[in-house]
Amino acid sequence: MIERESALHLLRSVLQDSPADQTEALLLTEDSSLTRFANSAIHQHVAERNQVLVLRVILGKKIAVVTTNIFNPSSVKKSLKKAIALAKVQHPNEEFISLPEPRSIPLIETFSKDIQRLTPDKKVKMIKEILTLVKEKGFKASGAFSNGDVELAVVNSLGVEAYQRFSDLFFHLIVEDGASSGYAGFVSRDVDPFNLSPLAKEAIEKASRGEPIQIEPGEYEVILEPYAVSELLSFLGYLGFHSLAVQEGRSFFCNEFGKKMVDEKVTIYDDGLDPEGLRVPFDFEGVPKQKVIFFEEGVAKEVTYDSFTAGREGKGSTGHGLIAPNTAGPIPINLFMKGGNSSLDEMIRSVRKGIYVTRFHYTNVVEPMRAVITGMTRDGTFLIEEGQIKKPIKNLRFTESILRTLSRVSAISKERRVCSEGTVYSRRFVTGTVAPAIKVDGFNFSGVSVL
């Protein structure tokens, strides 16, 4: 890892060399490892060390971005030169106002030495423990266990200087016997709450209810576990909770602010500083995170901004800028849904005939303005009858509006959990959504997975 002073020194030196009117330099480093197991054996175990420098230069209102992971001084100079050359041929973007001014950044701890100390041997030992637990019950296990050490530093020519070191640990487990499967997942910035036995128990219980039966698709009462709810929240974040979608007229929030859109029990917000989530003190522009409330007791309230979309409206960024050039908008990455008063057991007991969903799979947008998505259930879908989970059922396809779903929420669990698949593509920055379980009075299943 580069550490705070070296990281900021490197970025400051880039700024000093830059002839641009405004310059932003971002550094993202990664030291990570991921162990994957299937059929109750480790089949993949990888480790990565990488560092990326992202330079955003502005000449007047002409903007260009250059990224490199080659860090010798001549290469960094070459990248800066390349960025300037690109900016010169760029067309001005009159809507660009400025990179952000410096603001005070909250001091929070997001680094864990214990996560850093997880050696390959330690991880393999832990996986062996869980595989033994699963095997004892007659099941096979697959999953992944990953830990990472990530540094984010942002410096700009207006005086922004931000650095943070993050730890992350994620684990997910699928237990199956060829007929049924069950899932459990965990994500944290701290190793202390990571306890394998309850996770194994959770997944094993889901898979232990026998051969799934087939039921007819249609509208059912549903209980959605936090894993499933977090997926719905993420889609709302992507489709409509941010200023770019509103400015472009493609958000379900357009013309709806101040109006009640979903059930009054529903409050959804983004909060990078809430210790229950995966905390992030500032965004990828070095702006401190502000809490943004999307739905307050069912009423559409506000959206997230980065410096560009905020500049368009003469506002300040809410601290939701993503890595430049971000043309997708300031999509929130620290989502929360407020918990309710129910226990999961109470919610199940209140269902006469319905379906219990652990998680969704391969969801995708069907109609953005109504937030209609489709996807499949996976790893723990059950029929509930007369207040009891009766039998596992074959996976179902749903095609449903998330807004309609949230309008029909009749109970919300008190307990919440942090959910993240931990999927890491090109750059590691693990995020999580804090979600409760919800009971929905009508949810549309449009198909069933049967050959």
């Binding site: 054996a41 480790a47 990565e48 050039p325 095609t399 999927t423």
Partner: protein, 480 residues
């Protein structure tokens, strides 16, 4: 470079590795995104690093770093070795990794115009021109144009003596018009949704696409969709255009035939497959006219290369012949489940990922029909074009797709436009209902640059050749 590589391979032999390979990969990307007359993104990325894969004591270890230097490479080798040794304590069935004859070769994508030799100004002008034509339609509120150029230089070397240098050049472009009115949002794009169409070709490919010639049509169709009637909900005859059929092949044939999924090693993320190795040679996957091939040598295909990332030369082979499943996509480690050798489909998304079984160019062979003839032969149904959404379960059985636009077919003629079209089905039932496939004249290669798989996540660039095709008794209109 060669000295650095050979040093690691010597070290691997010294430490008793059963096998080791190293890849050094340099990637160069340039992307330009235009939106509403402005160049929203002008970016240049450079990515360089190496990855070492080692097999020892029956277990794999992999470690990688962006610092390509002797000392770091030795440290990373040590890390990979440590990982493999730790993993060997929880190994499953004995790994069968047959040796492969060493190959020393150089491969390069044939290009007429290197896209990195074309100045950004020229590319920006091309996109702005198309964008300006789209914006002439006042119902269009978001106009977009994209152009991407990619170059990957990789050196693969193994303890078996292979030393392969490859340079893969890719580029692609596309335009999209989003019409918005009264809460209705409708998109049309060309040549395909999600940024366009991509190929292993030079800048000549961008010129062939002729974006501005299609700009007005996409804008007009986006406007027409605003007032179009909704897709009906019924069971009917479905004709898919070539681009949508390409994605249908991708999701419901390409992924299920990946042998690593079949053997369960993708269970924790992308999922498994309804197929089993013993189904090869027997399973009636589709109707007799369905012939699917995998061909990593097809000129210009986005899944075209010289050698895979295990040093196996690219090849072409049938997957489905006259409706019967005859082969799967395999690796050196998995091919023995079929009693065969690897068919060379192991590819990694850069230096910092291990190779996985990935699609190459998975294509349907053309049939005899013209599109016009197919429509004229259809009494009642829908013709759907250009993907908008996709979803399929973890075993690849139940799928649902949405397209940007559809047309009713009545009495053998195209009728009204329908908006928000969707269709759903069961993989085997669907492919067995295919009763017409377009001819070579209607067949086209499509590049899919966003195929996700693996943990940590990997994005593969794959290709699919397809012609329009007809399917009977399909559920359409599943919108709630």
């Amino acid at each position: 470079m060669k000295t650095l590589i050979l040093n690691i391979l010597d070290l691997a032999k010294l430490k008793g590795a059963d096998y080791a390979d190293i890849r050094i990969v340099r990637r160069q990307n340039e992307e330009i995104e235009v939106k509403n007359g402005k160049v929203e993104a002008l970016t240049s990325d450079e990515d360089f690093g190496f990855g070492i894969r080692i097999l020892i004591k029956g277990a794999w270890g992999f470690a990688c770093s962006s610092k390509v230097a002797k000392r770091e490479m030795e440290t990373v080798f040590g890390r990979a070795l440590k990982i493999a040794k730790a993993s060997s304590k929880v190994k499953g069935k004995e790994i069968v990794f047959p040796s492969s004859p060493p190959r020393v070769d150089v491969y390069g994508t044939p290009v007429s115009i290197d896209p990195f030799d074309v100045v950004p100004e020229r590319k920006i002008d091309l996109l702005l021109k198309a964008d300006e034509i789209i914006r002439r339609n006042k119902k269009v509120k978001i106009s977009e144009a994209f152009l991407g150029s990619y170059k990957t230089e990789k050196t693969f070397a193994s303890t078996e003596g292979s030393y392969i240098e490859q340079e893969i050049v890719e580029c692609g472009a596309g335009i999209a018009a989003t019409a918005i009115e009264g809460g209705e949002v409708q998109v049309r794009s060309y040549p395909n949704s999600f940024r366009g169409n991509f190929a292993t070709k030079g800048y000549e490919w961008i010129e062939e696409l002729a974006l501005e010639h299609h700009a007005q049509r996409v804008a007009d169709e986006a406007e027409q969709l605003l007032s179009a009637k909704p897709c009906p909900s019924k069971i009917t005859t479905l004709i898919l255009d070539s681009s949508q059929l390409a994605l249908q092949i991708h999701e419901s044939i390409g992924h299920p035939i990946e042998l690593d999924r079949i053997l369960g090693t993708e269970a924790s993320y992308a999922g498994t497959s309804f197929l089993r190795p013993e189904m090869v040679g027997h399973l009636k996957y589709g109707s007799e006219m369905v012939n699917i091939v995998a061909d990593a040598t097809y000129p210009g295909g986005l899944g075209t290369f010289g050698y895979d990332d295990e040093g196996i030369e690219a090849k072409g082979f049938p997957i489905i012949s006259q409706g019967i499943l005859v082969n799967l996509l395999t690796s050196r480690e998995t091919a023995h489940y079929l009693g065969k050798e690897s068919n060379g489909t192991m590819r990694a998304d850069g230096w910092n990922r291990i190779p996985l079984i990935r699609m190459t160019n998975i294509s349907i062979e053309p049939g005899e029909w013209t599109l016009e003839g197919m429509i004229a032969d259809t009494e009642e149904g829908l013709f759907l074009s250009t993907n908008r959404s996709w979803s399929i379960d973890d075993k690849r059985i139940n799928f649902q797709f949405g397209t940007e636009i559809g047309w009713e077919i009545k009495g053998g003629k195209l009728g009204d436009i329908v908006k928000n079209p969707t269709y759903t089905g069961i993989t085997l039932k669907f492919w067995n209902s295919c009763d017409a496939i377009g001819s070579r004249d209607h067949w086209q290669m499509w590049g899919t640059p966003n195929c996700g798989k693996g943990e940590p996540g990997q994005v593969a660039h794959v290709g699919h050749g397809a012609a329009p095709a007809r399917f009977r008794n399909i559920q359409v209109g599943v919108m709630k």
